[in-house]
């Protein structure tokens, strides 16, 4: 397989916004050589999301994940400080931490018993004295390899295998979206016990797009929406009541601005809708407390639907419930999704129950909405094998109405996105995806130039 040169990679995105044109070549979704470059330069070449600090409540706790193809462990040391390391013994490369989350003061490699403490320090080499090691070996750094960059932004943990900008710079104005999540609990956020992992037969960027895609909602989810409406009508006991039954921001009958999108630097985006406060909202019983603490307008933003993508691998979808997703590309046509119900610590058991029930119904691969998305991604992946018309036409809605900078809704948060698209229910902006592909190309360019 011939490696691609930068000019070929760059040509996969036809970004001619002044001509009213933006498109992505289908090969960006299907080619193994593109995927290999993405792993090296997008995922292993800049900030990616690792997990939540709340997964490691105590000293010596750890969580394992991957950064691109590289196994990574985040550990809390004996002093309580977090660190991120390559999860591989420096001797022969065997994995050191074996569970998704766990705990241990000392991690003894199962293969040859080199041991490492929870700060990644190599504290023992088995039979060091009798090993007849050279001075060169003894002088070599045998500690677990630290990630080049690691940061904890309000409990959201990020890491990078290469030296890069400060996390505040990476998140930029999109940090306001993480703040809206983190501020919902006085003591921050936690993951509800129970991780759900699923795969789909499609490229990882299909998930990136779908989260921010209002256009598919009424097309892909009519079975879910009709059931929500039926349950609202029938008012049976033990039926899941969804926020989607209490508002019609997605429907054709609404008028005026019902939501919109924001696109940020570095490839982060959000697609949002106004959701009125009602009993179906898990935050309802703390609505007044949140208004007192953060002001009514900011509280209302917490209630609004927000589908946030922090490029390249993290999404928080807050609508009928609240989901944290970690996207892990496996192959050009295979993606693994690690998903969690994320919730403010200390909410009432009734609010938590509401959140969980809506989550299961909507978000789970065993539920009634997500499978209709993921099966559609596989359909797209199949259809992308189309050499006759290789350009995707899904980046054009909103082209003539998108505005630079903030809108009135962003002003409430003192947030200055790159672009805003306040709109009615039927506009369904697609220009926010442009930011994904600009960030994608930027990481690829930096990495390919570094390697050249």
């Amino acid at each position: 397989m011939q490696a691609m040169i930068w000019e070929e990679v760059k040509a996969l995105v036809d970004d001619r916004i002044d001509d009213g044109w933006f498109s992505v070549h289908k090969r960006a979704f299907t080619a193994q050589e593109v995927f290999d470059l993405e792993m090296r330069h997008v995922f292993e070449g800049g900030w990616v999301f690792l997990g939540m600090a709340s997964q490691l409540p105590n000293s010596h706790d750890y969580l394992t994940t991957t950064v691109g193809r590289v196994p990574v462990v985040v550990m809390r040391d004996g002093e309580g400080a977090l660190g991120a390391y390559i999860n591989a013994c420096t001797h022969k490369g065997a994995l050191i931490c074996h569970k998704r989350t766990g705990s241990g003061r000392l991690h003894v490699c199962r293969y040859h018993s080199w041991s490492f403490d929870s700060a990644g320090k190599n504290v023992a080499v088995k039979a060091m004295k009798d090993g007849a090691y050279s001075d060169a070996f003894k002088a070599f750094d045998r500690n677990l390899v630290r990630l080049a960059a690691f940061a904890d932004y309000r409990g959201f943990l990020f890491g990078s295998l290469v030296e890069t900008c400060p996390i505040e710079e990476h998140l930029g104005e999109a940090r306001h979206m993480l703040d809206l999540a983190a501020d919902q609990g006085e003591d921050g956020l936690e993951l509800v016990p129970g991780e759900v992992i699923f795969t789909y037969d499609g490229n990882w960027k299909l998930q990136l797009e779908n989260c921010a895609d209002a256009y598919h909602f009424t097309s892909a989810h009519p079975s879910y929406l009709q059931l929500v409406e039926k349950r609202r009508r029938e008012e049976k006991a033990n039926s899941v009541k969804s926020v989607w039954g209490e508002n019609s921001a997605w429907s054709e009958i609404t008028e005026g601005v019902t939501g919109g999108t924001y696109a940020f630097e570095e490839g982060h985006v959000v697609n949002w809708q106004i959701i009125p406060l009602s009993d179906t909202v898990p935050l309802a019983d703390r609505a007044e407390i949140l208004a007192a603490r953060h002001g009514e307008k900011r509280r209302d933003w917490m209630v609004n639907m927000r589908n946030v993508t922090i490029f390249p691998n993290m999404q928080i979808a807050e609508n009928a419930s609240s989901q944290l997703r970690i996207i892990r590309p496996v192959a050009p046509g295979l993606t693994e999704m690690r998903t969690f119900c994320i919730a403010p610590k200390g909410e009432s058991s009734e609010a938590r129950r509401k959140r969980i029930r809506n989550y299961e119904d909507f978000f789970n691969p065993t539920g009634m909405a997500t499978p209709d998305d993921t099966v559609s991604y596989a359909d797209c992946q199949d259809g992308h094998a189309n050499p006759s018309q290789p350009w995707i036409l899904g980046y054009s809605r909103g082209m003539t109405s998108v505005q630079q900078g903030a809108d009135a809704f962003a002003d409430v948060l003192n947030m200055t996105p790159d672009r805003s698209q306040p709109c009615g229910s039927q506009l369904c902006d697609e220009t926010l995806f442009h930011s994904y592909y600009r960030a994608w190309l930027a990481r690829l360019q930096i990495g390919m130039e570094r390697d050249a």
Binding site: K99, R100, T101, V192, P193, G194, E195, V196, I197, F198, T199, Y200, D201, A220, P222, S223, Y224, Q226, L227, K230, R231, K236, A237, N238, S239, V240, C341, S349, R352, R353, I356, R357, Y359, E360, N364, P365, T366, G367, M368, P371, D372, D373, T374, V375, S376, A378, D379
Partner: protein
């Protein structure tokens, strides 16, 4: 007291109803206020225990929720359900434990005609059965899915 023969008969009828897409026949095996529960997993070794404070893959109280799920796969409105996958339920190790509890091991073979692939979901069923008149019905069904690494879709009829 429930006999093993009765339990085996009920579970076989349930399996065949699902494999034959006899949805009404399947629903009729459950009590109106039945609990249908498939926990998720807290970690590698422990399934979630409390569906009110922990996440399940599916948790419903009331047969009407199962009726909703049946409606959805029949509606033609669900991308994931057209075409339906073909299934073959195989249930073994059926034992009555105590007065009304039945445990069993399951393997459900699923064929995805569209993607030309096969998958097997496996794990254990735990039932609580009750008598309604002459009929034995399912008051509780818990599905402990061992391979919770789900290829895009795992709907009720595949479990």
């Amino acid at each position: 007291m429930i006999t093993r023969a009765e339990a085996e008969d009920l579970i076989a009828r349930e399996s065949l109803a699902l494999d034959r897409c006899d949805w009404d026949g399947w629903l009729a095996l459950f009590t109106e206020d039945c609990c249908y529960w498939m926990p998720s997993w807290r970690d590698e070794e422990t399934p979630t225990q409390d569906p009110q404070s922990e996440l399940s893959l599916i948790w419903y109280q009331g047969r009407h929720n199962l009726e909703d799920r049946v409606w959805r796969v029949k509606s033609g409105l669900s991308v994931a359900s057209v075409p339906l996958m073909r299934t073959s339920h195989h249930v073994s190790n059926i034992l009555v434990e105590g007065e009304d509890r039945v445990v069993a091991s399951f393997a459900v073979h699923v064929h995805n005609t569209k993607r030309r692939g096969d998958h097997v979901f496996f794990g254990r069923y735990e039932y609580r059965l009750v008598r309604e008149g002459d009929a034995l019905k399912i008051a509780e069904k818990k599905i402990l899915l061992m391979n919770d690494y789900i290829p895009a879709v795992a709907d009720f009829y595949m479990l």
